[in-house]
């Protein structure tokens, strides 16, 4: 029982439940199933991005360009929709995803072939991608009435009572969970981040593995880009400005180690849900906006402090597992 409680994921679930309980005292209808479903739906985009980010962080890298990639892919989809209203939404979604994969590949290649530190690469591409949005859109907004109804309807539609937005997140969660557990590449992410030198000896190409991680992150940002633009029904240069910090924060809160090699799908999802719950709850419980910022910040520092303690013991154990699997 105590061993179970030591698991990061279990602690997070407990914290989230406690938090929802506290919110319910001030605002009872927050715990209604529809309201909680709404929180998940609202957090879907963050979950998708956090899972992409987690893979990158696992390999000892970081992708600061996720939000910019999201904005770029969203703008590409929105502009295509505006210029060619007859194109089917599936094709636009594909365009967004491919643009994202391409943006991720650029990051990955720079990290892999030129050996530039990932934080520098993605800091650079972050501004480059925003710049590209400005160039292709001429700084103009694409507004609700300039998008077709079908384009905007998809994330709002529901299948068997589940909104497509939530469904997209669930599908990504399942795929990522299976891929990280069962695929050789999935295990390689852990090995590369846990100990890059050892990974080389086991026959893993560190650079290539990082490249794949960036492509995954970019692809998921592309998917999230379409969902974001279609959901909020507006596209402009500054969409999701600064959102990459939320994404990294979600990972860190979820127990993904910034030093690489440690993390789980469940952790990243719970970290996102933790932030999502705060974001959705703060507006209804009437807390001063200045306190909101302070609360969000304190939570992140607390989570990192927890991580630092946990890693000292856990690091080696997981590496051994990864070695065996590889």
């Amino acid at each position: 029982m105590m061993a179970l409680f030591k698991l990061r994921e279990v602690q997070l679930v407990a914290v989230i439940i406690a938090m929802i309980g506290l919110i319910a005292i001030r605002f009872p209808s927050f715990v209604e199933p529809s309201s909680l479903g709404n929180v998940f739906n609202d957090t879907s985009i963050l979950i998708i991005l956090a899972l992409g980010q987690m893979v990158v962080i696992l390999t000892k890298c970081v992708d600061l360009s996720t939000a910019a990639t999201l904005a770029l892919c969203g703008m590409v989809a929105a502009m295509l929709n505006n210029l060619y209203p007859d194109l089917p939404v599936a094709l636009l979604l594909l365009a967004a995803i491919l643009t994202g994969a391409l943006a991720g590949a650029v990051n990955g290649l720079l990290v892999w072939k030129l050996d530039i530190p990932p934080i520098v690469v993605t800091l650079g591409t972050m501004t480059i991608y925003r710049g590209i949005i400005f160039l292709i859109s001429d700084g103009k907004w694409i507004n609700a009435h300039e998008m077709t109804d079908g384009f905007k309807a998809l994330p709002r539609a529901s299948l068997l009572g589940v909104p497509v937005l939530s469904l997209a997140a669930i599908i990504v969660i399942v795929i990522m969970a299976i891929a990280l557990k069962r695929l050789a590449t999935g295990r390689a992410f852990f090995a590369v981040g846990g100990n890059p030198h050892a990974a080389v000896y086991t026959g893993i190409d560190v650079g290539k593995t990082r490249f794949i991680a960036f492509v995954i992150s970019g692809t998921l940002s592309g998917l999230a880009g379409y969902l974001w633009i279609a959901r909020y029904a507006v596209a402009y240069v500054d969409i999701a400005l600064g959102f990459e910090l939320d994404v990294v924060a979600a990972c860190v809160i979820g127990g993904v180690s910034i030093a690489g090699g440690i993390g789980s799908v469940a952790g990243a999802v719970l970290g996102s849900l933790f932030l999502g719950t705060i974001k959705n709850a703060l507006p209804v419980i009437n807390i001063s906006p200045f306190w909101q910022l302070a609360i969000s910040g304190s939570v992140i520092i607390l989570a990192v402090a927890f991580n630092a303690r946990a890693e000292r013991r856990k690091g080696r154990v997981i590496l051994k597992k990864a070695e065996v699997a590889a």
């Binding site: 609202d42 609700a144 909020y232 507006v234 999701a240 974001k279 959705n280 507006p283 209804v284 906006p289």
Partner: protein
């Protein structure tokens, strides 16, 4: 680049000049904008032309740099001085950088006023603001109240909690509240001018205040996000989103019904009023000094404060009847 730009500007200005030679007795009023090719300023030019037609003996020179730089505007001003225009009405790219060039213009007897975006007091005779904080605050509450004959709960969705403009407007809204019976401002939330945060805050408002009847968002990002949130929650018709926004960004939401009306300055009126004031200064009928009242044709009169600044009018209200037309402009 500098030379090419100079040549282009000179060419543009001299073409205008040649065109004007035909009726040399006409007053030449230059409408200088932040940059050419911006819908907002093209609309202001439309208003200036309207004023010119009404006055009869006025030629409008609509000009400006190709990008929004102070240097570009200085070149334009210098060439206008060389052509001896009678008045310059400018929307400035920089409050201070234009002062020397405009001072030189005034020394040559040219009447100089600024509008929309002002110049420091020593560089112009007066400045025409599109509206005033008090008028904006009042209009925001009025638009909410007009659709709530029996009163009701109203919430404000602002930009950042530290945004000076928005905070001033919100203060003004609270000041005029006693004039609107039954309108009750329940809270102010902050969307930080981010689409996602504004959307979530709007959702929170709908959850926390089941009797909410209207959301006032005096920010163009916030009003769009709030309207979308109201539509997604299926509250269209029950909650009216209003505030300050741009017609091109709000057209879809007015059509969808989540926003019955919103306001922003009308660039046509602004160009019209700036031309009227310039004309009256040129003819010597009126003088721009603190405390003076200047007439603006169909826009009424503007009273100047201690800095020789004045507010033109209430913000212009856009609704289903006119939003489509203005969406094409800005």
């Amino acid at each position: 680049m500098g030379i090419l730009k100079k040549v282009l500007v000179l060419a543009a200005v001299s073409t205008a000049l040649v065109a004007n030679v035909a009726h040399a007795e006409n007053k030449k009023i230059a409408l200088v904008v932040k940059a050419l090719g911006i819908g907002f300023f093209d609309a202001a030019n439309k208003g200036a032309q309207e004023a010119a037609k009404e006055l009869g003996d006025v030629d409008i020179i609509y000009t400006g740099p190709t990008d929004t730089t102070a240097e570009g505007q200085i070149e334009v001003i210098n060439s206008l001085v060389a052509q001896k225009v009678d008045a310059i009405a400018i929307s400035a790219n920089d409050k201070d950088a234009l002062v020397p060039a405009l001072k030189k213009a005034m020394e040559r007897g040219i009447k100089v006023i600024s509008w929309d975006s002002g110049v420091a007091p020593e560089g112009r005779m007066m400045h025409l603001n599109p509206s005033s904080n008090a008028l904006i605050g009042n209009m925001c509450v009025k638009m909410a109240a007009d659709n709530l004959p029996d009163g009701g709960d109203v919430a404000i969705l602002s930009a950042a909690a530290t945004a000076t403009n928005q905070n001033t407007w919100i203060e003004e809204m609270k000041k005029v509240l006693p004039n609107y019976k039954g309108i009750n401002i329940v809270t102010t939330v902050y969307g930080d001018d981010k689409t996602d945060k504004s959307y979530t805050e709007a959702q929170g408002l709908m959850k926390a205040y089941p009797n909410l009847k209207a959301i006032i968002a005096p920010t163009s990002v916030g009003i769009v996000a709030a309207a979308q949130a109201v539509e997604d929650a299926g509250m269209t018709g029950k909650i009216n989103v209003t505030g300050l926004g741009l017609p091109s960004e709000m057209a879809g939401h007015v059509k969808a019904g989540s926003s019955k009306s919103f306001a922003i300055w009308n660039p046509i009126d602004l160009g019209y009023a700036a031309t009227m004031i310039s004309y009256n200064l040129v003819t010597g009928k009126e003088e721009a000094k603190p405390g003076a009242e200047l007439s603006m044709g169909r826009m009424g009169k503007v009273k100047l404060d201690d800095n020789s600044e004045g507010a033109m009018a209430d913000p212009f209200v856009y609704d289903a009847s006119n939003v489509e037309e203005f969406a094409k402009i800005f």
